[in-house]
Amino acid sequence: MSGGATRREVLIGSGVVTGSLVIPMALGAGRSKAAGVPSVAGNAWLGVNADGHVTLAMPKTEMGQGILTTITMIAAEELAVKPDDVIVTIADGDAARFAPIDQGTGGSTSTREVWLPLRTAAAKARVALVMAGAKQWGVPLAECDAHDGAVVHTASGKVLPYAALVAAAAAAPLPTDAPLRPASSYTVIGKSHKRLDGDAKARGVAEYGIDVFVPGMKFAGLQVSPVFGGKLANVDEAAARKVAGVTGVIRGDDVVYIIGDNTWAVRQGIAAANAQWTADPKLSGTQHAQIISAVTAALDKPGFVALTSGDLDVSRKGAAHRFSASYTQPFLAHATMEPANCVAHVHDGECTIWTGTQIPSDARKAAATRLGLPIEKVTVHNRLMGGGFGRRLEADMVERCVDLAKQVPFPVKLIWTREEDTAHDWYRPAYADRIDIAVGADGKIAAWEHKIAGSSIMARLMGGAFKGIDDDAVEGAISPIYPAAARKVTFQQQESMVPTSWWRGVGPLRSAFVMESAVDELAHSLNADPIAWRLAHIDDPRAKAVLENVRDKSGWADKPAAGTGRGVAVIHLWETYMAAVAEIEVDKDHQITVKRVTVAVDCGQAINPSGVLAQIDSGVIFGSSAALYGEITIANGRVEQSNYNDYRVLRMNEAPVIHTTLIESHEKPGGMGEPPNAIIFPALANAVFAATGKRVRALPLQKGLEAA
């Protein structure tokens, strides 16, 4: 193993930012000197240390999507170093340090948010070093450049490593303007790079939140009222304390915590405690069908208008063809491989937290609020995450942990059981959509009306500022790739007792399933080929290009074998264009198998092609699990699912073969975490229709097909 890999293993393995020479400064600020050690800092989280190494504190969080590698590559390109030589650290929660970039990581925003500010800052640092070299040699700046961690004067062949120039560069004002590297000169961006955190993770030495050990730490588990709204009534504390290794029982309003010397003792203690609950009669009788009926019924309300153009009634007059249908999508759990967990130590008016979170700065704020402490008294040390998918965009694990930690004098590691995590997740909202499309005599879309109803995550987050339209829920629906003479999109909030939050694909996933199912149905009802119809109704050349690509690469024109079917979908979401053809097989017992998925993606400039392809595999498989099987249901006021036995996800033997074409582009980078997950839902629904002639409009597909 190279020295670089060893150093990275230590940094990623511990995740601790110690001895880092990254100097916190305001964005774009000039220079810094700390403890007499000069360094060049392009902004608050990027620097070049006295040894000449580029140091980078991650402004975003790593949950598996590969952003740690992507962002490092962007910095490495602009600073002319190898990505393996950059000293990367996982940053604590610190909103001010990274502003205006939000540490919150979701919505496929990371690359898009970081792309320009990071390159701008890195270019300034590079030019500062080149200026220092040119000055030392007494040659014109234009004759010098940066290459492989050094400044070079091409004409004379002189070379000075960054280490020799850092002091001088740090002492001079940072350049106010520095040209960005042109795409034509890229040596890092656009070339596949192995994940920087891959080796340590494979070896089991990378540290996740759940792996944190703090001296004096105790282990803890919890049981929350299984029925929504229930309160803790009784606990057999004596029985719990009799379990060897159990050291404490702490009661909360809707929760009981068991503390012990190890997780095994804690789990036995939870069982022995035999917690009893007082039900909230308003909630404890709630059944799943009631919730879904209310969401569907909300479609009959007028809703809040998110988009309107043209006149629907006028455009519908004389329409040659009219299609309308309603679709429903269920609550979904995240089921991350690493169950919810958090370590916290509350003492002497301060709190230290170790956890893997997608929202390090918001989690810090949430803990401070919960504890009534000033924010500067709360430290959140972030860690790698064993999956995020939106689960770790909520601070509930931190809040529950500090609720417990403030009652004990020692640090405590709180770990959810898989069953608790499944039954007390923040679920993807259940949605109902109705879409009504009129096609004119000219074959063009004359009128397009789309009504959306469901829980509003934005309403919860915005409080009084919410005005009826959930910008996330309507995303995608208000920017379709199919032009129409008149269009109207509405949103109607409909809450239930089920807590809802972000789930990979977010609002646009809902939009994509509905819109791409609907146009597929429309094309079939017109006896048109679903790809040909789409191509005839899309203007955007980049959308057409990905669609033509999958048509040609998937064998779309070949007659599918008996029992198989192919379904297509195309999206332009998160500034990425993507098309997919899913080929499925349905056996005599109506069991669906995803055989092959052909994807074409134009995500603008791909930073790390290997990472883009990995995200496609990821989204296709994660999305297939949910589209085929995913559903959280409620019976008697509680979640019915508990573990991977009743919340089914794809396994190795069920995973499709995936062929992806990455279209080369130097356009602005688009997002990659969500799109493949969003596209696979409609592609699979359309494939089910192609294979069986049955249209499933209520997810999940397997259940829907069996009911059809």
């Binding site: 891959g198 993770k201 070896r203 089991g204 690493e338 770990i415 059981t417 498989i621």
Partner: protein, 157 residues
């Protein structure tokens, strides 16, 4: 209560109940965190370890069942030729995403290759279907197992 186990070739006494599943003994008592907690129900394979060379679910195996046997965790496997071949292949194919399931996947792959030095896709599917990956690294795991088998066979030749 104490229990004596041989982990990665080292015999050690632990202050733990013999009933404690290996998963928690390894993580909380031995403080070896490469073995991961995923479901504690034998459903996901994240806690896989080798006992006398065969994969078991650490969450379903009481420490008492491993007494007198040889336990190999991811930390030990990666020091052995087969483990090194697997890590090389995993790195080469760039398998890892969130990475949380990967130590368990690699343990399962080691067990598979020990039994079947050149597994085909069907054998890989059968041998690996006890391990869940939520990031969808299955296609690359498949490719990496083929590559690891190749590397390992080359070393033995």
């Amino acid at each position: 209560m104490s229990v004596t186990l041989t982990i990665n070739g080292e015999k050690r006494d632990f202050d733990a109940s013999p009933e404690m599943p290996l998963l928690w003994l390894l993580r909380d008592v031995a403080r070896m965190t490469g073995t991961k907690f995923g479901c504690a129900a034998g459903l996901c394979g994240a806690c896989s370890v080798l006992v006398d060379g065969t994969r078991v679910f650490g969450c379903q195996t009481p420490a008492s069942e491993a007494v007198g046997k040889s336990i190999t965790t991811i930390e030990g496997l990666t020091q052995q030729p087969l483990g090194k071949a697997l890590i090389s292949a995993w790195d080469e194919v760039d398998v890892v995403q969130c990475g949380y399931c990967q130590p368990g996947q690699i343990i399962a792959a080691a067990s598979l290759i020990k039994d079947n030095p050149k597994p085909d896709d069907a054998a890989i599917d059968a041998g690996m279907s006890g391990n869940i990956c939520r990031c969808g690294t299955y296609p690359r795991i498949r490719a990496a197992i083929h590559r690891a088998a190749e590397i390992h066979a080359g070393e033995k030749a």
